[in-house]
Symmetry: C2
Subunit: 238 residues, 2 copies
């Protein structure tokens, strides 16, 4: 057993917990509203895109490629086939921009992850396109701080239970940290683990949690990831 095997495991979400993601999507959504302006006002465009994403989430999964396909389907529909091919080509190019975008670590993340990697085995659990998520980890400069990286199709109780079981981790020994109450907090509490919420600036509508489920539980909320080491130190003393 190496030294690191004795450290407890800390779960970390990636997008909007370690690095910026949602803001890049919002920029593209703004361009999409402009592109659709000849056929649809902003509110109708947003509603149509969301409806398409919701309808396709089970077959597209999460991530950039599904988002691009949903924008294309929405554009053809809203324009009644009138939008031209080069404009659709632009939508694909926006997706490529998202996939190629440099990683912007959130404030204090580099130092905090560095410190946490000395006290915990860091298990990144993220959903989205497998290829995209793995290249983001590689480009983040943090890869060698992580014990494991798990890209999953959905972050629900069954998935967390399966990941922890596979790695031989008891839920009661596990802490998950992330910006999504729906994906990072509720399912982990649901299987008997602990969870810490570090909100980001915005929450995608499909990530909004059931308010009743939120009201039924208690969990710490931190302003920034940099506040996590102090909280974990408190917990290990308590």
């Amino acid at each position: 057993m190496s030294r690191s095997d004795s450290l407890s495991v800390l779960g970390l979400d990636a997008d909007d917990t370690l690095w910026e993601s949602e803001a890049r999507f919002h920029e593209v959504e703004a361009r999409f509203r402009d592109l659709m302006a000849p056929w649809s006002d902003e509110e109708a465009t947003d509603a149509a895109l969301l409806a398409t994403e919701r309808k396709n989430i089970a077959r597209h999964g999460y991530g950039v490629k599904g988002f691009v396909l949903s924008m294309i389907v929405t554009a053809v529909h809203l324009s009644d086939g009138d939008i031209n091919a080069n404009q659709i080509g632009d939508i694909v190019a926006w997706g490529h921009e998202l996939l190629d975008h440099p990683i912007e670590l959130l404030d204090g993340v580099a130092d905090t992850v560095d410190a946490l990697s000395r006290t915990h085995r860091l298990l990144v659990i993220t959903k989205g396109d497998l290829n995209d998520q793995m290249t983001k980890v590689a480009r983040s400069g943090l890869a060698n701080r992580f014990w494991r990286v798990e890209v999953v199709a959905e972050k629900d109780e069954a998935t967390y239970a399966s990941v922890l079981d596979r790695l031989g981790i008891q839920p009661s020994d596990f802490v998950m940290v992330g910006n999504s109450i729906r994906s990072d907090v509720l399912p982990v509490l649901g299987i008997g683990g602990r969870a810490v919420h570090v909100p980001h600036t915005t929450t995608w509508i499909l990530e909004e949690p059931d308010p009743k489920a939120v009201a039924a539980v208690r969990f710490p909320v931190l302003d920034r990831l940099a506040d996590l080491p102090a909280l974990l130190a408190d917990w290990s003393v308590a």
Copy 2:
């Protein structure tokens, strides 16, 4: 240690090893040639699509969604922006058809996987869209025969080494079975494992192996997965 923990691990590829996949892509490629006919002959269409796929494989990864995005980019380019939006909508719909297509197990697979699951811990290792691959496993009717399912971004030596290391499996104890010499055979032999080739009807150009690397190694080739149990029984006696 449960009984199953003592069984050795057998790696199985999924697409075109357990179920039909490539043929569905070929059907869509044929429709794409027809769609492009006003602007491009069949050979030029195939060449342009392949060039787009090759250029984008690192950012798209493998799978249906990247294939759809590559068809769209190719269609806009070949038609010089002339193709209409509804036709591009059709391309997306073909992708949805691929994602929703019922699983067609290859001949003899159901019985063979059933038999193998009693003698081995079955580890499916597949690349492609995470969401798509996981739902295919779920819809295959075989999920409860598999010990683990790993969806990976690329099937190279580093990936196999990492998967086996993570699961505590020695490469010398590991056998991989699949239809792709490039993805299922060469990298496993390269890290000191054993591999069995079960060719399917066709091989995608981006899956064609380096002929020199193939000439340098020896591995068994089986006509069908149903021939595998006999081969493995021979090996365990030898």
